[in-house]
Structure formats: C-alpha cells, structure tokens
C-alpha cells in the first residue's frame, strides 16, 4: 500500500462520518505522535487497490495558531499524501472554502467533497458543481451526504482518477498585485535551493514567509537559508510600505476575495429571501421599543401554554398515580400482609408520594420544553438576550450579563459558570448575583401547583408574574449594586451570533422535548427519590420517645415536623407560617423540585385516599383511559382558549372562552396535593381569600430565596465563601421582605 488520502475540513462538517463510510470497520484510532489530538487511520479498497485514509483534525485554516492546524499542515507538507479530500459544508461555503484555498496553495491534488448538500438545498442554496470546479481550477467536486452514504461511489471514482492522473488545480488561488509579485520572486529563490525544493512546495513556502509564519521560520532557521529569510523580511516591509497593511492580513484578505468570487459565480444563494426575511423579522422583534413588549408577550404565551394547556394532563397523571399505582400498591401490600407496616409507609408515603408528587408535573414540563424547543429552533431564543441587552444597558449593566441570566431561566448552576464570559470581576460577581433571581426551571412545578390550586384558569398569569418579578428584582438589585458596591468601567461592546429565523422542525423540537423530559425523569428517579426516602425517615422518627413509636406518629410530631415548626413563626407575617411550608422550603434548598415532593409527602400522609376495594383493576384502567381522552380533548380546548385570554389583556375587552366539558364541582379538577394546599393555606392565613394571597407570598419567597445547594456551591467555587454568604443573606432578606409585603399589602387591597 503506497497511496494515502487525507481528509481535511472544518470542524463539524461530517468529515468523520465520511471517513467511517469510506473505511467501514477498517480503521485504527489513536493519537497524533506526542499530541492529545485524536488520529484516525483506515483502509479503503478500490478494486484491488488498498488506499490508506487519514482523518486529519478539523480546522478552519492552515496557519500555525492551533495544534490542529499545525498537525494538519505538517502532515500534508511532510507526508505528502497522494491527494487530500477537502470535506466542505455546502451550507457554509464562505467558511469552508477559505481552507480549500490554503489546500490549493499547498500544490497537492485536492478533491472537494461537497458534503451536507441536503442542508444546503433546504436553505435554498443552488450550487453548480461544474461552476465550482471551474473556479477552483478544475478540481474534482463531488456531492456527498455523509450520514446517508450518498455520493460515496462518485467520491471513490474521483479518488481513483486522482490517483491515476494527479491534478493540482490550474488556479493561481487568490493573490494579486504586490503580494503575487513578492511570492513569485521568493519562489525563484526557494527553487534555487535543493534542500528547500525537496521538502516544501515553493509557492506555499513563499506565502508562509510573507505571512511571517513563525512555525515555518523557526524550521528554516535550522537550515542555512539566512538570505531567503532576509529577503522575505524585506519583501514584507515593501508590502507594508506600499499598502499600509500587514502582509498576513493582505494575504488573508485576498483569499477571502477569491472565495467571494468563487461563491458569486458558482452559488445561487437566496440571501435576498432568507437573510432579508430574518432582517425584516428582526426589525420588529428586536425593535428598540417593540422588542421588549414582544418578548414579554411571548413569555406570557409560553406560560399560558405551559400551565393552562398542560393542566388537563396534569390532572390525568395525578389520577393515574393515585387511582392506579398508589391504590393497587396499597392493595397488593395489604394482600402480602404488609398493610400497616413501615415498608408500606415507605413505599406509599415516601416513594410514591414524593416521586409521584413530582412526576405529576411531567406534562407541565413536556409542554414547557415544547414551547422552549419551538423558541430555540425558530431562532427567537437568542434574540431574547439581544432585546434584554438594551434594558440592561439602560440600567447601567453589562449587556452580556443577560446571557447568563437567560441561562438562569433553565438552571442557576450553569448561569453562574457562564459569568466567566465577562472579563471584569465586578461584572461577573454582579451577574452571578442577579442570575439567582431568574426563576429556574425547577421552580416551575411550585408555581404550577399553586396556580392551579388557587387561580384555576388564571394559573398561567401567576407563573408569568413570578418570572417577570424575578427579572424586575434582578434589574433593581443590579441598578442599585452597579451604582454602589460593583462600580466598574463601562461595558465592552460585543457582536452576537444570531441564527436566521426558520420554521421549527418537528423532529428537532421533539428530540429536545424528549431529551429534557428524559432528564427530568432521571432526576426524579435519583435525586428526588433519595430525598423522598430520607424525608420519609425524618417524618417517621418521633421528636421525642414519649410521642409514640417509629412511624406511628403524627407528621407534626416527627423530628422533621418539630424542627420545621421551630422556624415556622418566622413566616407568619407572610401568611404561611406552618411547619409544612417551612419544612418544604428547607428541603427545597437541596433542589427546588423537592419543595413539591416534600409537600406531596407531608399532605399525602395527612390525607391518604380511601382505597375503593370494590373497583377491579380493569375498571380502574377504564377510568384512567377515559380520563386520558378527556384530558386530550380539554388540552385542545385550552390551546384555543389562549387566543381569547391573550386578547382579553387589552383593557375593556372580555371575550368568552370555550368550555365544552364543564365540571360540576371545581374540586373534581384539583389534584390531591392542590386540594390539600387550599385547605392548609386557608387554615394558616385565616380565610380562603387570605389563603390565596398567602399562596402568592409563598411563591414569591420560593422565587427569591436561596438557590439550591448546587448553585450555592458553584458560587463559592467561583467567588469565594464570603461572597456566597453575602448572597445567601441578601436572598433570604429580600425573599422574606417581598413575601411579607405581598401578604400584608395584598390583605389591605383584597380583604
């Protein structure tokens, strides 16, 4: 075997997929000598001929700035492969052809594999293979779709032809004017020196010397070529004097011009449609005045969709867990003679109540992930950060701060780490501080359960209000701190990558939805399960031996109940001073979803359902099945109802909503936990209306108090213990103050 083909290309262009398709299982994976960069070597048979195929590291250019670039070019220069397959992303020729120009400069046979042509076609790009080949000096251009192995035979044919008739492209690449003149004169000098001529392509070496490529110059310094190096230095000075530009910049610029010409003549791109369409949408969506209201309206719609549309399925999952799983688990345990044992209590009050209490919210999250998926895939999500930049600057904050803050809507932990993108230490600390007020995804189940229990069809408004309040508190805090504690230099302006708008693709949205929901299920089966079991134990251990034996006491008399009860009076002014709510807030520090699982465990113990022993399993299955149909029907109804609800935001407009399946008693639509919460808050606050105000105050506290333990640890790691404690203290004070204000002022207005 003496023929070698190397695969070169930008990262993520499907190079490895093509390599796998070409070599099949005949490959060896290792590292490049002395480097940690992966090296893939394989064999390809064309007829009887065995060809070595080498997958080079992904790189955007062949300068000497990164290890991948040096490996790639050293391999081509030193090992002199028979040909290089330049794997090119057809959907992004600008970036990819820049590398191709440099491969051509190396004066080796190049085959252009135009990969991802399906993506390019979807984007409306029409690429002329013939035109591209002509503009690239007659290089073979082959269309491939690596992941579907399309175009492989054509590629093999091109390889076969190049091996038989090596062709290096009859094109003077990109250079012109003084650059080309100086290259030519250096080339003559290089060709006059045998040792250089043997090891390097003269044109490429001349270009590198003009670019002042330190890697190449260092290698030449070991040879006796001082004259050449001196001439190169003089040539660089002449270019700089004549053009006023650094030769490296001039050379790169001429390459870009060459690429532009190639694309202009070989590609029909729909920039007049796609780009201008995105620009037109951006003119409205990121508008100075309308951008923010549009962002808020979309947020409102997302939460309407998330909480109201998912509500029927939430009720259905609740029925599924309680009427099927819990009921039949109790029955089976009873038949096994374990009816009143601690094992039964652990399974029903601990695992099913805790994990099941959180699993009830899977539909809510599913709908949230659907909405997020649509926003991400359509390209809007990035714009949200862009829109908020103006608000941030108006408040004197760094616009880039809003990126970590938007990440904080998902989870506070990566938001804290994302502050590393800010250079200034004060900006970093301030941004991390503010990111904790962004309502993370794990808090959503709390708002949804309280929204559904206390506000019915308006639950989406409560959820929206919580997210909005988080932003407002963050901005006010930021404004105050920026003008006091964290005074710093004016922020550095920045450019942001914004994906073009597109119609969301159902498959991509579904994949995102499924991956995230799967993640939530994993979290339920690990973290929440662990906490539920630990909590069950704490609720089974009596605070004092006189109170009763293990697992046979009132929850309030348990170790957990009594400890929570000690802190409960602190929350009395906020209307939720019970040991149950206090206990939930305490466990919520571990992970915010645990607030719901704790409440579910506490209230489940207090109101276990009466097990209907007459219904058969089949009858229960029918109940669950018909419930599913009803939930599906109501979901459609609630989706349609978003329209009148949104229009009703306009003052004095009051459109009616669809109600195809009116329920006789509202209580029928409550989950077990929701019903318990209504009674508990009513009791603590004094009246049904005060209970609802206390519920809002509780949600405000959940929104603003200490983030979870993982986020606190991230803060300590990034900014130190002192800063962490300052943050914990501030969030506790602000959360308590805000919830007390909400309850007390709410009582004044609504009672």
């Amino acid at each position: 075997m003496n023929k070698t083909i190397a695969l070169a290309g930008n990262p993520n262009v499907g190079k490895s997929t093509l390599f796998n398709a070409l070599t099949g299982s005949h490959q060896h994976v290792g590292n490049w000598p002395g480097k940690t960069v992966e090296k893939k070597d394989g064999q390809l048979w064309i007829g009887e001929q065995e060809i070595r195929v080498v997958d080079l590291p992904g790189t955007y250019s062949l300068t000497a700035y990164s290890i991948e670039e040096i490996i790639t070019r050293d391999f081509i220069v030193n090992e002199k492969p028979t040909a290089v397959i330049a794997v090119v992303n057809a959907a992004n020729l600008d970036r990819n052809l820049y590398l191709v120009t440099q491969l051509i400069e190396l004066d080796i046979p190049v085959i252009v594999a135009l990969n991802m042509t399906d993506v390019a076609r979807r984007r409306g790009l029409a690429i002329s293979l013939k035109g591209l080949s002509e503009r690239l000096g007659g290089l073979p251009v082959v269309e491939t779709v690596g992941n579907r192995s399309e175009g492989l035979e054509d590629l093999k044919e091109a390889i076969e032809l190049v091996i038989k008739y090596p062709h290096t492209g009859n094109v003077q690449t990109s250079f012109s004017g003084i650059v080309q003149e100086e290259i030519e004169s250096l080339k003559v000098m290089i060709e006059g020196q045998e040792q250089l001529k043997e090891n390097y392509r003269p044109g490429w070496l001349a270009t590198k010397l003009l670019e002042n490529d330190l890697d190449v110059i260092k290698k030449l310094e070991t040879l006796e070529v001082e004259g050449l190096l001196e001439s190169a230095r003089a040539a660089r000075e002449r270019i700089e004097t004549q053009t006023g530009e650094d030769p490296e910049i001039l050379i790169a610029d001429q390459r870009y011009q060459f690429v532009d010409k190639v694309i202009d003549s070989a590609v029909e791109h729909p920039r007049e449609t796609t780009i201008t369409r995105s620009e037109r949408i951006d003119k409205v969506v990121t508008h100075k005045i309308w951008g923010l209201p549009i962002f808020l309206l979309l947020m409102w719609l997302v939460f309407q969709f998330t909480s109201n549309v998912s509500a029927p399925f939430l009720d259905w999952v609740d029925v599924f867990i309680n009427e099927l799983i819990l009921k039949w688990t109790v029955r089976i345990l009873g038949l096994a003679g374990l009816g009143n044992s601690w094992i039964s209590s652990l399974i029903t009050d601990g695992v099913i109540a805790g994990v099941g209490g959180v699993l009830v919210f899977v539909p809510v999250l599913l709908f949230l992930y659907l909405a997020l998926g649509v926003m991400e895939d359509s390209g809007y999500m990035a714009r949200a950060a862009f829109v908020m930049d103006r608000v941030m600057r108006w408040m004197g904050l760094h616009g880039k701060s809003f990126l970590p803050m938007i990440i904080g809507f998902g989870c506070t932990v990566p938001a804290v780490y994302a502050t590393r993108t800010l250079e200034n230490e004060k900006d970093r600390k301030l941004t991390a501080f503010l990111a904790t007020f962004m309502s993370c995804g794990a808090r959503l189940p709390v708002y949804v359960v309280f929204g559904a229990a206390f506000f019915g069809a308006s639950s989406g408004t409560l959820v929206f209000a919580m997210y909005f309040l988080g932003i407002v508190v963050a901005l006010i805090t930021g404004f105050v701190m920026k003008n006091t504690v964290y005074k710093s230099k004016p922020p550095v302006p920045f450019v942001m990558e914004l994906p073009p708008y597109r119609i969301p693709r159902p498959r991509d949205v579904w994949n995102q939805m499924w991956e995230r929901t799967h993640g939530f299920l994993v979290k339920s089966g690990t973290v929440i399960l662990g906490v539920s079991v630990a909590l069950w134990l704490l609720m089974a251990i009596p605070a004092h031996q006189d109170l009763g034996p293990f697992n046979e006491i009132q929850a309030g008399d348990s170790l957990f109940g009594r400890i929570s009860g000690l802190l409960a009076p602190v929350f009395k002014p906020a209307g939720f001073g019970s040991w149950q709510t206090t206990g939930s807030l305490m466990t919520g520090i571990l992970a915010k979803e645990v607030i719901v699982s704790t409440m579910s465990q506490i209230y489940a113990g207090e109101s276990l359902p009466v097990v209907d022993t007459t219904a058969s399993f089949q009858e229960d299955l029918v109940l669950v099945g018909t419930g599913f149909g009803r939930a599906a029907f109501l979901t459609v109804q609630e989706t349609i109802n978003i329209i009148p609800r949104t229009i009703n935001l306009i003052p004095f407009v009051d459109l009616g909503e669809l109600d195809f399946l009116p329920t006789e008693g509202q209580e029928l639509d409550y989950t077990r936990l929701e019903g318990s919460l209504i009674k508990a808050f009513e009791k603590t606050a004094g009246s049904p209306r005060a209970g609802a105000i206390a519920a809002v105050a509780f949600n405000v506290f959940v929104l603003l108090y200490i983030p979870c333990v993982a986020a606190v640890t991230a803060m300590k790691q990034e900014f130190g213990r002192r800063w962490m404690w300052a943050q914990i203290t501030y969030t506790l004070v602000i959360a308590w103050t805000a919830s007390v204000v909400v309850f007390q002022v709410g009582k004044l207005f609504f009672l």
């Binding site: 700035y65 006023g244 910049i249 989870c411 990566p414 450019v495 942001m496 914004l498």
Partner: protein, 98 residues
C-alpha cells in the same frame, strides 16, 4: 485608514456600542453573514477578537449529563484590546454532552 475588508471589520468592532448582531455587521460592511463569521475566525486566530461561548458546566450538581434545565446561548464576540493571543474564555464540554 483600513484598505482591506478584514481591517474594516476590525474597525467596525472598535466603533460599535452596545450589542450588534453578525447580520447587522454584515449589512453595514455589505458582506454575507457567513463571510463575516469566516473573517471573524481570522481575527480570533490573530488574538484581536475574543469569542465567548456560554458554558453548560454543572459543577457539583449530581444530575450532570441528564439535566433537563440546560439552555444554550449563542456565541458572542468582542474586541481584545491588549493584543494578547486569544483564547476562548471557556471551552469546556457542555455537561449535557459529557
């Protein structure tokens, strides 16, 4: 006075205030956004522009790779005034891809 498009791009980075999208920048320079991205690569290599990717690092969180709450944000680019060679501020593997 910049004579090359590459230098003009760098000048634009020096002139901008606030946030600007690649599209808007391309529009001002009468280039395709993909051209601007490609040219920005050059300046990143030269250490004159810094790219910031928002990391999805999860620290001590026990959920790590299966977390449903990770949101990805787009890359941002800003001028490096000290001419030091650029290095990505954060180049960690997103925890949801580990």
């Amino acid at each position: 006075m910049a004579t090359t498009t590459l230098s003009k791009l760098l000048e634009k980075f020096e002139e901008i205030s606030g946030a600007l999208s690649i599209q808007a920048l391309a529009s001002e320079l009468e280039l395709r956004p993909a051209q601007v991205e490609s040219m920005v690569d050059f300046w990143i290599n030269k250490g004159r522009i810094r790219v910031s990717t928002n990391p999805s690092e999860c620290g001590s969180c026990s959920v790590q790779g299966d977390c449903p709450f990770i949101l990805e944000m787009p890359r941002t680019f800003e001028l490096v005034n000290d001419h030091a060679h650029n290095q990505e501020l954060v180049s960690r593997i997103p925890c949801n891809q580990k």
